[in-house]
């Protein structure tokens, strides 16, 4: 094990384990007003107006008319409003906010507001969308010719559902006006500068008019990437109008029903096979973006880039759209578009192998890309592709091939078993040229006269451990004890913009900037003196520049690789599947801290298994999400996957700190494909085409196939 990988007690351990950490809901309420949002109850309508009850002294209502600047939340496109404009586009859209000192009274008054609107027919089905926010088309080779010359053509459709991030701490934000007039916003946030820039636009001020602090944040998983920008603007407007601190913390149902979650997908794949090999893939992908575009452009891009999987297919055509529907805006969730297309392509490969009468694993191995091969975007796999070795490691851990052969024999009786496998990557860092052209990360180290060193970076610890891993890197290079390196939660008033806490980029990109900054500081170190060093992102020389117009070049400098195997047992009487074991082998380069990295793998993998099996969320005919609580939307407990085994395979990345590369998202991505593969085997080899695959789905399949 590398020295850096040796685990330490996490920087935030003592405060969190003793319950002393202050999350946004924990600040004292003295003098703080409570804000509650007035949510639309109709999926699509023209707004006519609201009629307020008489508001007692000290109670306020704010809406779009109170916004000092632009009623637009800075995300990607200019469409997401702070408070609704002249139309309502989804159930839950914020019409206004009611604010006052007593929470119960606020709730009571909120219920008395009359909303007048003219209802319109909502668009709910992404396949019948009237509008696409984004559309991309790319490929290489001659797909037409490959299909013309094919021995066999396969044509299949795949669907995946919503996934709710289900961070344990709901969304929450607080705003106050400081004595000098500056607006101070703090709360549960992944990306302080996203919030900062959104506020500037909505408040119509410059950098000097606002600052944003990340409070201790109770999980994010992507769900606190963009949504906090919206909530921050809403509470900031309320604080401006009332002149008092305003806090809004979502209830669980409000959070589950109205905030962004993983995009449901519909994929139509065609594959050409000649001489036992896949010669072409032609994929049409639709992601349900919901009512506003938010982050759908980038989510879709990542999904499309992964559409041919990890395979070297000579001819590909990829087409994808992000469809507008009158549903909650979909957004970022760990994996960010990858899980949907990996589910489709992995399942497709399994089905082709079965139809050809060959072993699925051997069939996939025949197609795996290797170092130097073209990626789907005609970039290069610059570094080793260790998947074949990882397959052997997983096989050794769980006896995959033996069990796979055993369960393939006809099974009888109530309980039936299956084991399945998936193999995939997660592109490390921002998609395309984002790091170089948009983010341009800056990180600083500041040394004080007592020779302690503070890390100044915008990345927030949301549980993934960056306060610890960043500090370890700096302490390691400077030869300091860990306690002499400080890394507090970021405040835009005092840290530079080192980019958002997303895309598995923090450690790989910003961690490397800090490593270089520490080396620099060591060179100029002067005892007892205040010193500061700064580092800026520079794209590695080997990267082939990516163009979003042509979808050509290196979409990612490198990839995290993974192989998953899941073994399950189905009770054919009840449909309930028990996961007997789940094995994940992950190449995230050098773990910056073994325990922290293992915790990321185990947590992400279990989220993926939840997504594959029990996490079912859907809307009704009015566009209302029905699974809005932990009783209706089940996430895994301690009992669901007792045997969850995660391993590391280390391929060092030369441009990441000590060889580290993106880690946070990869463990989630491949679980649905492995799970459904196992389920197919347990059900006697019937082809399945959607995830999650719940107990109800299993029972329906058993009935239909008369198993």
């Amino acid at each position: 094990m590398e020295e850096i990988s040796r685990s330490v007690v996490k920087k935030d351990h003592a405060a969190k384990v003793s319950g002393r950490s202050i999350y946004v809901a924990d600040y004292p309420s003295d003098g703080v007003l409570t804000g509650r949002l007035l949510h639309a109850k109709t999926a699509r309508a023209k707004m006519i107006g609201v009629e307020l009850p008489e508001l007692p002294d000290g109670y306020y209502y704010v809406d779009a008319r109170d916004i000092p600047g632009d009623n637009n939340v800075n995300i990607v496109l200019d469409d997401m409003p702070v408070f609704c404009r002249d139309t309502v586009e989804y159930i839950g859209e914020a019409i206004g906010m009611l604010i006052g000192p007593d929470e119960k009274k606020v709730e009571e008054l909120l219920g008395e507001i009359k909303v007048y609107l003219e209802e319109m027919e909502p668009v709910l089905d992404m396949r019948k969308a009237e509008k696409n926010f984004f559309e991309y088309n790319f490929g290489h080779g001659d797909v037409g010719q490959a299909f013309a010359e094919a021995d066999r053509v396969f044509d299949e459709e795949f669907e995946t559902g919503y996934q709710e991030q289900a961070y344990l701490e709901p969304q929450g934000m607080m705003a106050e006006i400081e004595p000098d007039g500056r607006v101070f916003v703090h709360g549960s946030i992944q990306c302080v500068y996203y919030v900062h820039n959104a506020l500037k636009r909505v408040l119509g001020c410059g950098d000097e008019g606002v600052h944003v602090l990340q409070d201790v944040t109770g999980g994010g998983f992507g769900g606190k990437e963009a949504w906090p920008s919206i909530l921050a603007c809403q509470v900031a407007v309320a604080a401006k109008v009332t002149g008092k601190p305003v806090r809004c913390v979502f209830g669980r149902r409000e959070d589950m029903e109205y905030t962004s979650k993983r995009h449901p997908s519909y994929c139509h794949y065609r594959a050409a096979v000649k001489d036992g090999k896949v010669t072409a893939i032609d994929a049409d992908v639709i992601y349900n973006a919901g009512a506003y575009s938010t982050l759908s452009a980038v989510v879709l891009q990542r999904g499309l880039i992964a559409a041919p999987g990890i395979y070297n297919i000579p001819n590909i055509r990829i087409h994808g759209t992000a469809a507008k529907t009158n549903t909650t805006p979909s957004g970022a969730y760990r994996g960010f578009g990858g899980p949907q297309t990996f589910f489709a392509v992995e399942t497709l490969m399994n089905h082709i192998a079965r139809e050809l009468g060959v072993d699925a694993l051997a069939f996939k191995e025949m197609h795996i890309a290797k170092q130097g091969d073209l990626t789907s975007t005609a970039g290069r796999y610059h570094f080793p592709v260790p998947v074949k070795e990882m397959i052997e490691e997983v096989d050794a851990a769980c006896d995959y091939r033996k069990k796979r052969a055993e369960y393939a024999s006809p099974q009888t009786g109530r309980y039936r078993r299956g084991i399945g496998m998936s193999m995939y990557f997660h592109g490390a860092g921002f998609t395309g040229s984002g790091e170089r052209d948009l983010i341009k990360a800056v990180a600083k180290l500041r040394k004080y006269s007592d020779d302690t060193v503070e890390i100044l970076a915008a990345n927030g610890d949301i549980g993934q451990g960056v306060r610890t891993t960043f500090s370890k890197i700096v302490a390691h290079e400077l030869g300091l004890p860990l306690e002499r390196v400080i890394f507090e939660h970021p405040d835009t008033g005092r840290v530079p913009d080192s980019g958002p806490t997303v895309a598995s980029r923090s450690l790989m990109v910003v961690g490397e900037l800090l490593r270089r900054a520490a080396i620099h500081l060591k060179e100029i170190w002067a005892d007892g003196k205040e010193q500061e060093v700064e580092e800026r992102f520079k794209e590695p020389d080997f990267v082939l520049p990516f163009s979003i117009e042509t979808f050509e070049g290196d979409a990612y400098p490198t990839f995290a690789w993974a192989v998953n195997a899941i073994e399950l047992e189905v009770d054919t009487y009840t449909g309930v599947a028990k996961v007997l074991g789940a094995w994940g082998d992950f190449d995230i380069g050098t773990p910056a801290d073994y325990n922290v990295a293992l915790g990321q793998m185990e947590g992400g993998f279990l989220q993926g298994i939840g997504y594959a099996s029990i996490e079912k969320m859907d809307y009704n005919q009015y566009g209302r999400i029905r699974n809005n609580s932990f009783s209706d939307y089940l996430i895994p407990t301690t009992m669901d996957v007792p045997k969850l085994v995660c391993m590391f395979h280390v391929e060092k990345y030369p441009d990441g700190p000590y060889g580290a590369k993106g880690a946070g998202e990869v463990p989630l991505v491949g679980a649905p494909a492995a799970y459904v593969d196992a389920m197919e085997q347990a059900l006697g080899g019937i082809p399945l085409n959607h995830a999650p695959f719940t107990a109800e789905d299993t029972l329906a399949a058993i009935r239909k196939e008369a198993i």
Partner: protein
């Protein structure tokens, strides 16, 4: 109406509010026990777990009327004990704390389990913590932490 008297972290207190108020809200708002987290308000997530007469309960589902005469322990009190120190150390050894929001409930669930069963098997640990949701860790580290605490804190429970 008489005030509701109960013991909070060893101190006698009395609550003059409504018997229908939730213990969760009263602990957070009236006694500043902010280690008690609100994750769902409907008894599903376990983030608001406290010990009531030694039994783990979801404080969001306990009406103050039921608290009369009870002994309530939150992490604010429990963190002063040797048992807590053993658990905190074990959680730290395996980095079982990620975002931390479920952790006060998890620690109290660990205590409730070990108080009843000082040497639990892995399966018993999983069952003992099954009412507390964690979205970050995948639970392995937390389960390991409880096993370590049981071993290293031998004699404390």
């Amino acid at each position: 109406m008489d005030a509701i008297r109960f013991t909070l972290n060893g101190a006698e207190v009395s609550y003059a509010g409504s018997a229908a108020d939730r213990l969760l809200d009263v602990l957070r708002n009236n006694y500043r026990c902010t280690s008690v987290k609100c994750g769902c308000r409907e008894g599903e997530c376990g983030a608001c777990s406290v010990l009531m007469d030694g039994v783990l309960v979801n404080s969001c589902c306990v009406a103050m009327g039921a608290v009369e005469g009870a002994e309530i322990v939150t992490l604010e009190g429990y963190r002063e004990t040797k048992r807590f120190a053993a658990l905190a150390d074990a959680y730290g050894q395996v980095s079982a704390v990620q975002c931390g929001f479920c952790i006060p409930g998890m620690v109290l669930a660990s205590e409730a389990l070990l108080a009843k069963n000082p040497h639990p098997t892995e399966e018993e640990i999983r069952e003992g913590l099954s009412g507390n949701l964690c979205r970050c860790t995948g639970y392995n580290a937390i389960v390991n932490a409880v096993a370590i605490a049981a071993k290293e804190g031998d004699g404390l429970w």
